[in-house]
Amino acid sequence: MRVYVIDNGGQWTHREWRVLKYLGVETKMVPNTTPFDELGEVDALVLSGGAPRVALDVERMGRNGEYLDRADFPVLGICAGMQFMCGKFGGRTDPARVPEFGKTTLHVDDEDDLFVGLPRQFTVWESHNDEVSLVPPSFDVLAHSDNCPVEAVKMRSRPIYGLQFHPEVEHTEHGYDIFRNFLRIVGEWRK
């Protein structure tokens, strides 16, 4: 299975690469300026987080829009990756009412495929100035935290997922499980 990480300049992009590598997936980090056609054969993409304030400097998100338009496979957007994704499909990102850095408690509202087998509540690590203020009409919200109503989303018609928190970080509980669940979704999609 080949899952590439689109590098949006996050502090933890390389951690996403490491987790995928540890899970036995063929992976590499790819700059977000890479044209979709040059990605080659991939089974899924992870859109990393990054320093861009998605609503303000969207040009720094490179070709993420093109990947979302053309992907006929699962995509997981993390942090800025998710915020961009929501904006792209008709939602909105604004400065968070309460920005979250470090430790937060996640509440899972709908386990869907991404949170299968996990507790309804666990500790996750965050680092975001902005949050999704309007969820696209074609998306469902899967989780929230005490301060942020949109911590996880899923597109209803396509295997496109987004997380505001960072499953790739050591201090996040069940981070590997979330990636395993995503890879299971990818595996089923391939069939």
Partner: protein, 315 residues
């Protein structure tokens, strides 16, 4: 998962192929650079010179410790005292990024001289992932310029070789354990050393205060860990703040500086939680610091911030 044996074998083969002449390796005596030195030594042997620089910002007893450690490894090494040069370069400098860049450049100038004498054109460094991630690039913001990446001068002629670039500290420890070197469990210590544990100008006097405070923090925490009262944190140290406050010493007014104690638990330095050190351990540290350095420090605080939002070191 990560296989240190496979990594070491592949890296030795790679370095054999990529270093065609002589090389020096910058070694601080920490886990990363010592592991890199051993791998490079296995790859090119006599063509490698290991260089340790005493910047003047090293911890108590560090120079002697590293000398003994490197001697024990049986590799070709040299200790260079450049402390005057470093202190001089940092005179009047308070901005943390400026400090880091000046230190990065100074290191390279020292290495360039050593490389010239040894006839080397390659510089091997123990750079690991957080170093280049936090230093920033055209995609990533600069969080802090690590001396070995963001602090490199643009006119540097030495060719860089960084065998551990994609690894994090936990993986480097596995490599070090596989290589059987004693530094494998040492706590992380930044390249700019105590210069970035003094907030503000790193004068010899200020560095001496934080050096003693770091030694006390290490002694007390390691004692508590050895007695089984706490798990040894991932990293633990003292920071000298530029804040003065009022105290009372033997019925006389005191007006002294402030030390912050920092201890964190982490795996890879990319996220960290502050350690829940028991109060009796913190109390011993506080009493020792304020008694042993009564003329300098009259207040001690404990840092209870995670990373993010803070970083592990203060600068």
């Amino acid at each position: 998962m990560f296989d240190p044996k496979k990594f070491v074998e592949e890296m030795i083969a790679e370095l054999k192929g990529s270093i065609d002449g002589r090389a020096i390796i910058a070694c601080s005596g920490g886990v990363d650079s010592t592991a890199a030195a051993i791998i490079a030594d296995r790859a090119i042997g006599e063509r490698l010179l290991t260089v340790y620089v005493d910047t003047g910002f090293m911890r108590k007893g560090e120079n002697e410790w590293v000398d003994r450690m490197l001697r024990g490894l049986g590799i070709n090494f040299r200790l260079i005292d450049a402390s005057d040069e470093f202190f001089r370069a940092l005179r009047g400098v308070v901005d943390p990024e400026k400090k880091r860049k000046i230190i990065g450049e100074k290191f390279i100038r020292v290495f360039e001289r050593a490389a010239k004498e040894f006839g080397a054109e390659y510089l091997v460094q123990g750079t690991i992932a957080p170093d280049w991630i936090e230093s920033g690039d055209n995609l990533r913001d600069t969080i802090k310029s690590h001396h070995n990446v963001g602090g490199l001068p643009s006119d540097m002629k030495l060719k860089l070789v960084e065998p551990l670039r994609d690894l994090y500290k936990d993986e480097v420890r596995k490599v070090a354990r596989y290589l059987g070197i004693e530094v494998s469990e040492r706590q992380p210590f930044p390249g700019p050393a105590l210069a970035i544990r003094v907030m503000g100008e790193a004068t010899p006097e200020a560095v001496e205060i934080v050096r003693n405070a770091c030694a006390i923090v290490e002694e007390e925490i390691e004692r508590a860990a050895a007695e089984g009262r706490i798990e040894r944190p991932w990293q633990y140290f003292a920071v000298l703040l530029p804040v003065h406050s009022v105290g009372v010493h033997g019925d006389r007014r005191a007006y002294g500086r402030t030390i912050a104690i920092r201890a964190v638990d982490s795996v890879d330095a990319m996220s960290a939680a502050y350690s829940k050190i028991p109060h009796d351990v913190l109390e011993r540290i506080s009493v020792r610091i304020t008694n042993e350095m009564k003329d300098k420090v009259n207040r001690v605080v404990y840092d209870i911030t995670h990373k993010p939002p803070a970083t592990i070191e203060w600068e």
